[in-house]
């Protein structure tokens, strides 16, 4: 029995994750021995890569699971604490002709959708006019927020993982489309303007359950936006705004809409359909905006970012987020501290259904009110803050060891990223305001 259980779990993990790990690890092994020599070339392609091996206390509490982001499957992360931050990436770049190049990147990591197609983070061709303009066509990483286009590359930042309040809720990591960049500047400073348009999709696991309604496919088209970046010496300032249109409702919302369309609900609680429409995201447009900075004078490292999500909808995330990090380098060691905060002040303005006199019907309407409407709002609520203390040790060339402890205070029913295991069918989950502490460690490298 145990053997069978082990076999089924091992097989599942293999299917979900290891086939990508094995491919990426094999390629890493091929490349690592020459990492310190010349740039690795393979048939004209410049081959590079990055990796992280991590461990976090995802199973420390009985009532809450630590997750990196909502694209990870909650139960898998809880049962395999080394999967939360572990990743392997491989990148290939080639100059096709003067002005033209092509870039491809694949990342193996734990995700709800672990398909090969979803593992491809970049696959684009680019033209640069040699002066100011460049154009890209294909799959690119989303750079709506300051770290969102390199958040998979642990070596490139000091945290074990980017602040969850700010980055944990983002469903998308890449898009298929077109991007143009205009650089202007001299040797003193650089000003960069960017604009993009395309489409994107992802599958997320909000909540703890492993069923159809907790694995939500989200697709947006079109997505478009633009930003400006100014770099001078040790200072970088960045502002970005983007807009997403959801193509269809998620599985959870489809279930809700299906329930409120039943004849009994229509007859005894007609407001339910109107309320459900406030949750529906099909054709709803969401605006994301962010302003960030990075300043690294001498041994000091500081960075921060504020953002807003303007959804005007109960079926997705909303609110404001911010973080600030300061650290100082002492030789190979860099201790740092971060404060990150996410606000969601949405009220739940809907009255419960009036009693009908039929206990069975009242119970059914209560399920819709508590189990679908109120619980769905909790799934999209991130109202919490975290103080993180961390240490980065660059113990060898292009290798870093990191440790970090996060102390998070979650306000009532802030279940948007960290899910509670107390998941009941057709009932509202509850989480009272409380504080949790998790520690994590990673080994990060690039080659």
């Amino acid at each position: 029995m145990i053997f069978q259980c082990f076999n089924s779990k091992a097989l599942l993990l293999f299917k979900r994750f290891f086939h990508q790990i094995v491919v990426a690890l094999s390629l890493n092994c091929l490349v690592l021995p020459v990492a310190y020599a010349d740039t690795m070339m393979l048939g004209g392609w410049n081959i590079t890569g990055f990796g992280t091996i991590g461990y976090a206390q995802t199973d420390k509490y009985d009532d809450l699971v630590l997750k990196r982001n909502i694209t990870q499957k909650s139960q898998t992360i809880e049962e395999n604490p080394w999967l939360i931050d572990t990743r392997l990436g491989l990148q290939a770049q080639r100059e096709l002709s003067p002005g033209w190049d092509a870039v491809g990147q694949i990342v193996a990591q734990e995700k709800v959708d672990n398909s090969f197609e979803e593992a491809i983070e970049m696959a684009f061709v680019r033209y640069h006019d040699g002066e100011n303009f460049s154009f890209r066509l294909g799959r690119m990483v989303l750079d709506t927020f300051q770290l969102s286009d390199y958040r998979n590359v642990g070596y490139s930042y000091h945290w074990v993982r980017p602040p969850t309040e700010f980055y944990g809720w983002i469903p998308y990591s890449h898009y298929d489309g077109f991007k143009t960049v205009y650089d202007v500047g001299d040797f003193d400073s650089l000003l960069r303007f960017e604009a993009f348009i395309g489409k994107t999709k992802s599958t997320v696991n909000i909540g703890y359950k492993d069923d159809e309604t907790s694995k939500n496919y989200v697709k947006s088209a079109p997505v478009y936006g633009g930003g400006v970046t100014w770099e001078k010496d040790d200072l970088t300032l960045r502002a970005y705004i983007s807009r997403y249109r959801f193509v269809e409702n998620t599985n959870a919302l489809k279930a809700l809409l299906n329930e409120v369309e039943s004849p009994l609900v229509t007859m005894f609680w007609p407001e339910a359909q109107i309320i459900a429409q406030d949750y529906a995201i099909k054709n709803v447009k969401v605006t994301y905006g962010a302003v960030g900075f990075s300043w690294t004078p001498g041994p000091w490292h500081t960075q921060g970012e504020v953002s807003f999500v303007n959804a005007s909808n109960y079926g997705t995330y909303d609110g404001e987020r911010a973080y600030f990090q300061i650290g100082r380098r002492f030789g190979d060691v860099l201790p740092h501290i971060t404060f990150s905060r996410s606000w969601d002040n949405r009220d739940f303005p809907y009255d419960p259904p009036s009693p009908t006199g039929n206990s069975g019907l009242d119970a059914g309407l209560s399920v819709i009110y508590n189990g679908y409407l109120k619980d769905n709002l909790s799934s999209g609520t991130i109202d919490q803050y975290t103080v993180s203390l961390g240490l980065r040790w660059d113990f060898a060339i292009q290798k870093a060891l990191k440790v970090q402890c996060d102390r998070t205070t979650l306000h009532q029913n802030s279940l948007g990223v960290f899910p509670t295991q107390n998941t009941f069918d057709n009932q509202e989950r509850h989480f009272s305001k409380d504080t949790r502490t998790w520690c994590s460690t990673t080994l990060d490298w690039v080659f």
């Binding site: 010349d38 740039t39 990436g89 040699g130 002066e131 390199y150 490139s156 930042y157 060339i397």
Partner: protein
């Protein structure tokens, strides 16, 4: 005449002492080098830094700049970037990780052999790199000119 003889005597006497100092200065100085055909004679610190950090794609004269780096574990690479930017090499590598794995820009191609690196600069009029322990004469013979020097670095 006596003055000339005395001068020659001192020159001959001091030559063995002074020559090592001349060579010693060369071995401690990092020269930023380009191809003679680049038509460059001088770059300043900010220009060199912008080119090697991927912020500038062209030389001040408008020609395309193609930087070449030493092997990742070479001591000259560490000295060069620490002196140029005031940052440890781990910060520079993290900086390049942010740029390259987001597809924005890519670090200079690294060549671990100094001879191969000099060969690349001598053949490529867009090339820019840096070396230590080479005299201006040696570099000039290969069609290479020095456009910036970081003096006295160990």
């Amino acid at each position: 005449m006596n003055i000339i003889r005395a001068s020659l005597f001192f020159i001959v006497l001091l030559a063995p002492i002074s020559v090592p100092f001349v060579f010693a200065a060369d071995t401690e100085t990092i020269h930023v080098i380009v191809n003679q055909k680049s038509e460059l004679t001088e770059l300043d610190k900010k220009q060199v830094m912008s080119i090697f950090l991927g912020r500038a794609r062209n030389f001040p004269n408008g020609r395309m700049a193609k930087p070449f780096d030493h092997g990742m574990d070479s001591s000259i690479r560490e000295s060069f970037f620490e002196t140029l930017t005031g940052k440890p090499l781990s910060d520079i590598d993290a900086y390049w990780a942010r740029l390259s794995y987001s597809g924005r820009a890519f670090p200079p191609k690294s060549i671990s052999s100094v001879a191969a690196l000099l060969d690349e600069v001598s053949k490529n009029k867009n090339a820019i790199s840096y070396v230590k322990g080479k005299s201006l004469g040696e570099l000039s013979e290969q069609g290479i000119v020095v456009v910036y020097s970081i003096k006295g670095h160990q």
